[in-house]
Amino acid sequence: MQLLDVRNLTIELRTSETVIRAVDRVSFSLKEGEVHALVGESGSGKSLIAKAIVGVLNERWDITADRIHWRGVDLMRLTPEQRRKTVSQDIAMIYQDPSRCLDPTAKIFDQIAETLPEIASKGFFLKRNRERKDRVKALIHKVGIKNHEAVLSSYPHELSEGVCQKVMIAMAIARTPKLLIADEPTTALESTTKAQVFRLLKSLNQLKNMSILMISHELEEIAHWSHGIHVLYCGQMVEAGPTHKIFSQPRHPYTQALLKSLPDYEQGLAHKEPFYALKGTIPTLQHLPIGCRLGPRCPQAQKACVVTPKFTKHNGHSYACHFPLIKDMR
């Protein structure tokens, strides 16, 4: 069953002079129990998409979409109260930069206890209190924090980034959501903690059948365990499809460049040999090129590229390019 189905999501920012289109007609869908990844460089609108789904963007941003269906219900047509209720019940989000997203003035215990769903417990308030404590403790053990007493009674600034990240995950899974949106959950962490977080997310996906929408700028991190990858460039979806197809047969020049910049993947590369790199830099949002936004940097660009390419779909693998790479990479 289709869990999340987004069609032609456009996010625009109104400024005094012009309207900046930060995300341009992005469509994707997610089935139950699947792990999908949104990959793109900074400024490509990954976080905006996640925030638009959850509905936490402020009113300066214009969000238009043909549909954002959540289990058959269009989130765009709900009243704000209904929407908040649906989203808070089923969707959870791990935000970027955990130590800044936690409340600096409250202890970790209070912050986690706040996210617990209400239970119809009959006992006295003392009993309810004890129950709540037990549930917080169970949650924090689940994300792999052993010394719960020290962590629960401290403020966010006293904890390391890795522990803060785990606390964020504990808060996100407190309501056992159907969909977890993880916005760059591992950028601040070193490799051993990173592996721990990934193991945790993976086990949640397999045991609880929780869908995950991972947002990352590193292709290699999510390559081994995601079902599908969506590659974004400057707010345009350039390629989408099952992970193995993207890796074995990238159609879009940008995806190819991303893959070739991974030393692990490009096996023919000798020690200290230069990587394949696209020329130029990512355009700023104020100076976006017309048509295909990769145009000025693309090695294959031709005259037709000033028109925005249509999405071509072929065996579940879709790409937006006028001149897709047909032959195999190797």
């Binding site: 990173k194 030393p263 200290k272 990587f275």
Partner: protein, 253 residues
Amino acid sequence: MQPLLKVQALSKTFNVRAGLFSRKKFEVLKNISFSVGKGESIAVIGETGSGKSTLAKLLSGADSADSGQILLENNIIENNGVRDNQCRHIRMIFQDSGASLNPGLTIGDMLDDCLLYNTDFEKLERIEKINTTLSKVGLLIDHQHYYPHMFSVGQLQRVALARALILDPKVVVLDEAVSSLDPSIRAQIVNLLLKLQRDTGLTYVMITHHLSLVRHISDQVIVLDKGEVVEYGPTESVFQNPQSKVTQRLLSC
């Protein structure tokens, strides 16, 4: 071959507060020794809190060690915490170049300051030097009139590299300077670093947690754990056959 940079038994302790009045000694680095040849790269890997960044600060002269020597081309430049004032031979590039450049100075002024305080060049020589350095890192000469906020992230990293290279250093210390960049820009900067190393024989000390990049770029690897060297050797042999538990854990994920 004679090593260019040699570090012998470098140690550093910090005084941390233990109670209301008492203070506790905390050893960040214990007896670190290694050597790098000209035109080679050495990578320092390890978990957070293992003393990687402290090592970078000690090498670049931003902090002084308690004991141990740093030798550059067989000249002692730091002996038991006393630094020879030759900061120009070892330069450092920081993680966030956007935050480490002065927003109130143009790129030209900033580079000029480096030369003014460290060399006795005349005005014309300095202008000439700035121009050649900017073109060396792939920027235009006109960029010296720009302020840091006018650059993109990739260009800022090039500016930071220009600031490091303008004094013709022999060693450049990169503290997480490449791993925090976006993939396509990272590839460009890595290519630039490799090209500079090939052309001018620079030596890099890289501090990073991006393991596949370490494997590609560096010749030697040091694995730090709680201030101690747990493994030190050529990159391929460390990656193929890690000896210590710490290294195995780092590499397995």
